[in-house]
């Protein structure tokens, strides 16, 4: 049969960021897909030889606008582990509270984008209205809506008062109730089911074979979550990763919806367990230069992120590298796109929650 090549992207209505897939079609079926990345490569990792390690945190945060908090946190954790810095308890709790809130923010953003991609604009606006309330929480507590600049090597730069934390929990509860109504639409609407159910199925074996991470792997039933390792105080929380077994586009939507609920519960637990009181230390003074190398892993909204830092005892790091979740999920995406209909390609690409800024850095 005659084959056609359709370039999908870099500018396409469903793509929030530029990525190219050259789709090789036979009739309406996709036979092969060749991804091209590199449209928004900014060389942020290479900036370590010009930017001091204390200031690099601000650069790392700007890798991506959606998971900016977690990037800053991961970088600080890496440097702290090289320098053996003991971070005060309250700062550690505050960090993971912000991290979970940013997970809610990211998932709401994605659910909106997903709804928009399958033509449900009304739902898109409802999701983004809820996300706005989360951004308000961030602006109140960190000072910034998207770029929070609140992590510092040795702790955090701002404290959140206990009364404010209780107010945040109350607000998240309220948001959770509103979210449940929206979640019902995602789970039961006929057009959404018709569009997503049974599309782009990634089996558990395939998910393991292509090393899918995050919600992508969990939607296929792979029990994998960096939070399970218990680092960053997650061992003190009751936590069980959200798993779905279907592995199709709908399962990936459902995993993210359930994770929003789960994150709200986690924030509840964290606020209950963190040390209370005014004037508790939130940072440790860090002196000296880092020397050595380390890996840090974190569970970002999109999956596992790995930071590698190599320092040589000067104020400039020798190497910094971030392996971001979308980069790990691209092989899975290609696997799903092969053999599907052309009309399903946008849904499959969107349900891996691509963050191209993270991928290319």
């Amino acid at each position: 049969m005659k084959r056609t090549i359709i370039p999908f992207g870099p500018q396409h209505p469903v793509l929030p960021e530029p990525i190219v897939l050259d789709l090789l079609l036979e009739d309406e079926k996709v036979v092969d897909a060749i991804p091209t990345i590199g449209y928004i490569h900014r060389g942020l990792e290479a900036m370590v030889d010009r930017v001091e390690f204390t200031e690099m945190g601000f650069v790392v945060e700007r890798i991506c606008g959606i998971c900016s908090f977690m990037h800053g946190m991961g970088y600080c954790l890496a440097i702290e582990s090289i320098m053996n810095v003991e971070v005060p308890d309250r700062a550690r709790w505050l960090r993971i509270i912000w991290a979970e809130i940013s997970r809610i923010q990211s998932h709401l953003l994605w659910l909106g984008l997903g709804a928009d991609a399958f033509g449900f604009e009304n739902l898109f606006m409802h999701c983004w209205r809820m996300r706005e309330e989360i951004l308000d929480i961030f602006e109140k507590t960190t000072g910034g809506r998207i770029i929070h600049s609140v992590n510092r090597i040795g702790g955090v730069r701002r404290d959140v008062s206990d009364s404010e934390l209780i107010a945040i929990v109350a607000k998240l509860d309220e948001l959770g109730k509103a979210f449940d109504k929206t979640a019902k639409v995602f789970a039961s609407d006929a057009s959404i089911r018709h569009r997503l159910s049974g599309v782009g199925v990634l089996s558990m074996a395939n998910a393991r074979a292509v090393d899918a991470v995050g919600p992508m792997a969990r939607a296929s039933g792979v029990r994998m979550d960096t939070r399970l390792t218990g680092q960053n105080l997650y061992d003190q929380l009751e936590f069980e990763p959200v798993l779905e077994t279907a592995g199709d586009c709908l399962a990936r939507v459902v995993v993210r919806m359930r994770e929003v609920r789960q994150s709200i519960d986690l924030v509840h637990q964290m606020v209950a367990k963190m040390p209370k009181g005014d004037g508790l230390p939130i940072e440790t003074k860090v002196r000296g230069m880092p020397s050595g190398e380390t890996f840090t892993r974190l569970e970002q909204p999109r999956g596992e992120v790995v930071y590698y830092v190599k320092a040589n005892g000067t104020k400039y790091l020798e190497r910094f590298r971030a392996r971001t979740p979308t980069f790990a999920n691209i092989p899975a995406m290609i696997k799903l796109v092969k053999g599907c209909d052309l009309a399903d390609v946008p849904n499959i690409i969107l349900t891996i929650d691509p963050c191209i800024s993270c991928t290319e850095r």
Binding site: M125, E139, R157, A190
Partner: protein, 136 residues
């Protein structure tokens, strides 16, 4: 096959037709910034001792200070609003206001080619000012 008559969004869609919009009518209704939100850097030329700590620590290199010329300048469009300069200032000359950064146009390029958003201060010269005050 899903039931095509199941439309869980329909009641809310109909309600939306008659309810108040979630958005604000922006130029007429402005939400005040939250307390503690990071906006623009404000500088107090009276208290500054030109120690240059802010310029050294600024991750975006937006601040220029000259101790000899008693000169302090900031490029507001380069500033990333990270609040580091405010935290390191010993004299509390710097503060972070919640006002968001203003919009600048190309027409605002200064006479010496200063970029839009450039703001500078010249402090009194203490070496000349001190003896003059003593004579009187």
């Amino acid at each position: 096959m899903a039931n095509p008559f199941r439309l869980p969004m329909a009641p809310r869609t109909i309600r939306n037709l008659f309810s108040k919009p979630s958005t604000r009518r922006y130029p007429y209704e402005i939400r005040p910034r939250f307390e503690g939100a990071r906006g623009t850097i404000k500088f107090d030329v009276e208290t500054c001792n030109y120690c240059m700590l802010c310029a050294r620590r600024c991750p975006a290199a937006a601040i220029t200070v000259s101790r000899e010329e008693r000169y302090w300048a900031i490029e507001h469009l380069t500033c990333i609003g990270c609040n580091v300069c405010v935290e390191v200032c010993n004299k509390n000359s710097l503060s972070m206001s919640t006002d968001s950064k203003s919009v600048h146009t190309h027409a605002e390029v200064g006479p010496q080619g200063q970029r839009p958003g450039h703001e500078e201060w010249h402090g009194p010269d203490p070496v000349i000012a001190a003896p003059a005050a003593a004579k009187v």
